[in-house]
């Protein structure tokens, strides 16, 4: 069984090389990144030799890897056919050989190998002496086995949920903590290390908790062996092995259950309330706004976009939170918030998808198109405006300069209007069909539309940045004016300017889409969301 499943996994991997150009490129990129992760992790762990906080840092790194194995398979559910027990339910297979076979299949591939190579870095970084090296090798192997078993247990236990719409929605939202982790590693940690705010000793406190989890136990076993406590080291490894056995037992139970349990994907809950909002406002604008508003809170793509926007706002305001550039950081927070609100929605037709036929039947003139754009903008603005007002204000209060938060409101309002207007413009000028692929909850352009997508995103970012320059200049130029006069004037000015930009975007978008609705529908119909 193990041989067959390993062969299947290898055939699936090699099949990717023989399929389309896109899958070939994806396979090569994935393998290259895995190699880089393997080398980077090995070198990073090895470099901790003679570092006082080596064991604390190793425990943190091992735990981060385990977390990655816990979350990523949920996001990429559907990419690996062997992850879903439903694909095997039709075959007459017994649970025990199946568990061993699936574990072997899990261990096959570039990423498990990269994990093992990278984590073997502790043989250099943490191990001192032959016995410690031996313990380190066993610890790395156990850590990889723990990660694989954990990933299998979670995906199998949640497989029923993952096949349901609700489960897929929840899994899609896992992209937000992944994005946060990425930002922490790519932006926050390097800066903190650069400013000497983060040293190896900073991890000691975290490690006091992590040392009792299996990845931490594995790291500390090597430390114990290096300091002459071989007995403790073996005991720790036995605990890791016991946790793997326990996870394996739970996984076998979950697998037996999943193989004989009916698909529950159609058993779903009802939505609250019985009618669309904005019933009294009437008109096409209110109708489209009502639909769009419902989508803002129910569509996982919209929720991901809001989550990413907040993460970006917090990341760009870190300089203010650290007290280095209080005004710039808060302004960046408001500006990026407004800009990304529009940028992430710069393909209204493509994102409407084939369902756009309902709208297309009534969008016969410029007036109707204006209402359509205005309705979508209104729904987004209902969430975006409080966001660009409150988040920078909170950042400014935390950084000890609340006035900056009030100043940032002017920029936030202007950037939101600019972002929405620019989004409307690019929706009509560079529309493209979007699709969601297995492994990524964030939609991307359908093959053949890369130019439009890149043009719309970069064009949108540049246009929004240019359009908010007058507000930034006004904030800078009025520095000598009393705050009591300056702040209300700037906020009112920013709001009016933003509203004008949004209206201009609506007019431009509608004008450009007029007479092109059938063509826009044909593009939208190619979206797969």
């Amino acid at each position: 069984m193990a041989r067959i499943l390993v062969q299947l996994k290898l055939r699936l991997l090699l099949g990717a090389l023989r399929a389309t150009n896109a899958t070939r490129v994806s396979f090569i990129v994935s393998s290259t990144v895995a190699l880089m992760v393997a080398i980077g992790t090995f070198v990073g762990l090895a470099a901790l030799r003679h570092n006082g906080g080596a064991v604390d840092l190793t425990a943190v790194i091992y735990t981060v890897f385990a977390l990655g194995w816990l979350i990523l398979p949920l996001v990429t559910f559907g990419l690996d056919a062997t992850l879903d027990p439903a694909t095997l339910a039709l075959y007459p297979l017994r649970t025990r050989p199946l568990v061993i076979g699936l574990l072997a299949a899990s261990a096959t591939g570039a990423w498990p190998l990269a994990n093992l190579i990278g984590e073997l870095g502790i043989t250099v970084g943490l191990a001192h002496g032959a016995l410690a090296v031996l313990i380190a090798v066993i610890a790395a192997l156990l850590q990889v086995a723990f990660c694989l078993t954990l990933a299998r247990l979670v995906t199998t236990a949640l497989a029923g949920l993952m096949r349901s719409r609700r489960g897929r929605d929840l899994a899609a939202l896992a992209i937000i903590p992944i994005f946060v982790l990425y930002e922490v590693f790519a932006q926050v940690l390097p800066r903190a290390i650069g400013h000497h705010e983060l040293t190896a000793a900073s991890f000691a406190e975290v490690d006091s908790w992590l040392r009792w989890l299996p990845p931490g136990l594995a790291a500390h076993a090597v430390q114990d062996a290096s300091t002459g406590h071989a007995g403790t080291a073996v005991l720790r490894l036995l605990l890791v092995a016991a946790s793997i056995v326990a996870l394996g037992w739970l996984w076998a139970r979950a697998l037996s259950h999943a193989l004989v349990t009916a698909d529950s994907s159609t058993q779903t809950a009802s939505v609250k309330g019985g009618a669309l909002p904005l019933g009294r406002s009437g008109g096409l604008t209110g109708t489209v706004a009502a639909r769009s508003l419902a989508y803002q809170r129910r569509d996982p793509i919209s929720m991901i976009y809001w989550g990413l926007t907040v993460v970006i706002m917090v990341v760009v305001s870190l300089s203010a939170l650290r007290g280095n550039h209080p005004e710039t950081g808060v302004l960046l927070c408001a500006g990026f918030g407004g800009a990304f609100t529009g940028l992430l929605r710069g393909d209204l037709f493509g994102m409407a998808g084939p369902a756009f036929y309902l709208d297309a039947l009534v969008l016969s003139d410029r007036r109707a198109l204006r209402s359509w754009f205005a309705g979508q903008n209104a729904a987004v603005a209902v969430i975006a405006i409080p966001l660009v007002l409150v988040v920078p204000l909170v950042v400014a209060i935390i950084s000890g300069h609340p006035v900056n938060g009030l100043l940032a409101m002017a920029l936030g309002l202007a950037a939101t209007g600019a972002g929405l207007g620019v989004g409307d413009f690019f929706s009509s000028t560079l529309p493209y069909p979007a699709e969601q692929r297995a492994g990524s909850p964030i939609p991307r352009q359908v093959n053949g539309f890369a130019m439009q997508a890149v043009g719309a995103r970069f064009g949108g970012l540049i246009a929004t940045a240019i359009l908010v320059i007058p507000v930034i200049v006004a904030i800078g130029a009025t520095g000598s004016v009393a705050d009591a006069v300056r702040i209300p004037a700037l906020i009112a000015g920013g709001a009016i300017y933003g509203a004008l930009l949004a209206c201009a975007g609506i007019a431009l978008g509608a004008g450009l889409a007029q007479g092109k609705v059938p063509e826009l529908f044909q593009l939208a119909a190619r979206s797969k969301l």
Binding site: S270, G274, L276, R291, A355, Y357, L358, L361, V362, Q522
Partner: protein, 275 residues
């Protein structure tokens, strides 16, 4: 292969329920559409009378969906005219589209709305006041047997339920002409019966229905007019009796379009007797 005599015999027939029709509900002239070098629709002429329940049948890839998309203003033709009750879909789209309802073949709807929200949305898009739209939505969901699922998200609906929800969206503004592309594809027999009865009732009230299908039995059962399309051309059109010419519709269709393929002679291993 198609039989020109048979096609010619029926091709002059203007659809209707037998009565003389002054102005057809749907009038198509010289409709053409090419995708690159492939001519999907090669110039079709069609008249469907008011109150008719008409079927457009043809094999896969014959041009049914392309033709219906052009008739409903969702795909721009290379050439030709489409009139709905005398109003051109392509020169006065607002007036023409206000009187039509459409159910596309692949019903991908705004699936993050519940069934009742979706129908209300469709009604409000067509200018109905919210209260009226809600009332009609509730009535349609009841008739379409979706009342118990009205508050569930359309994302959780089965294919048949989606088809019925799409039909509700197409009917909520009480259109005078209804276009349906493969309305019973992937629909269970109970839901199919609900849809069939609703279409009959709609056509009996004097409204017009044109739907595409490759299920001959269905077209034969419910339609008073049928057009056969193959390779982008109408090869026969007229009343059901005219097109059938004494045969079953299935046989007339095969005679006109031509049978394809073999009976699987190469598969000598297939079947329990060969093991």
């Amino acid at each position: 292969m198609a039989e020109p005599a048979s096609a010619g015999q029926a091709s002059t027939g203007q659809a209707g329920t037998g009565q003389a029709v002054a102005q057809p509900a749907i009038s198509v002239r010289g409709l053409r559409k090419s995708f690159g070098s492939k001519e999907a629709v090669a110039g079709i002429d069609l008249d469907i009378g008011k109150g008719s329940l008409a079927g457009l049948v043809g094999p896969n890839g014959a041009g049914k969906t392309t033709s219906l998309s052009m008739m409903t203003g969702l795909l721009r033709p290379d050439r030709g005219t489409v009139l709905i009750n005398g109003v051109s879909v392509w020169t006065d789209p607002a007036a023409a589209k206000a009187t039509i309802g459409v159910v596309p073949a692949e019903v991908r709807l705004f699936d993050r709305l519940s069934g009742e929200e979706l129908l209300e949305y469709a009604g409000r898009l067509h200018g109905l006041p919210a209260g009226e739209a809600r009332q009609r939505a509730a009535q349609l969901l009841d008739v379409l047997d979706l009342k118990d699922d009205a508050k569930r998200l359309v994302a959780d609906y089965s294919t048949g339920m989606r088809k019925k929800a799409a039909l509700g969206c197409a009917l909520i503004h009480n259109p005078r002409v209804l276009f349906l592309d493969e309305p019973l594809e992937g629909v269970d027999p109970v839901s199919a019966d609900v849809i069939r009865r609703l279409l009959k009732r709609f056509a009996d009230s004097g409204s017009t229905v044109l739907f595409s299908s490759h299920v001959m039995e269905l077209v034969e059962q419910v339609c008073d007019h049928v057009s056969i399309i193959a390779a982008g051309r109408i090869v026969a059109t007229g009343t059901m009796d005219e097109v059938r010419a004494g045969k079953t519709l299935q046989q007339a269709f095969i005679d006109l379009v031509g049978a394809r393929g073999t009976g699987g002679e190469g598969l000598s291993w297939l079947g329990s007797s060969s093991s």
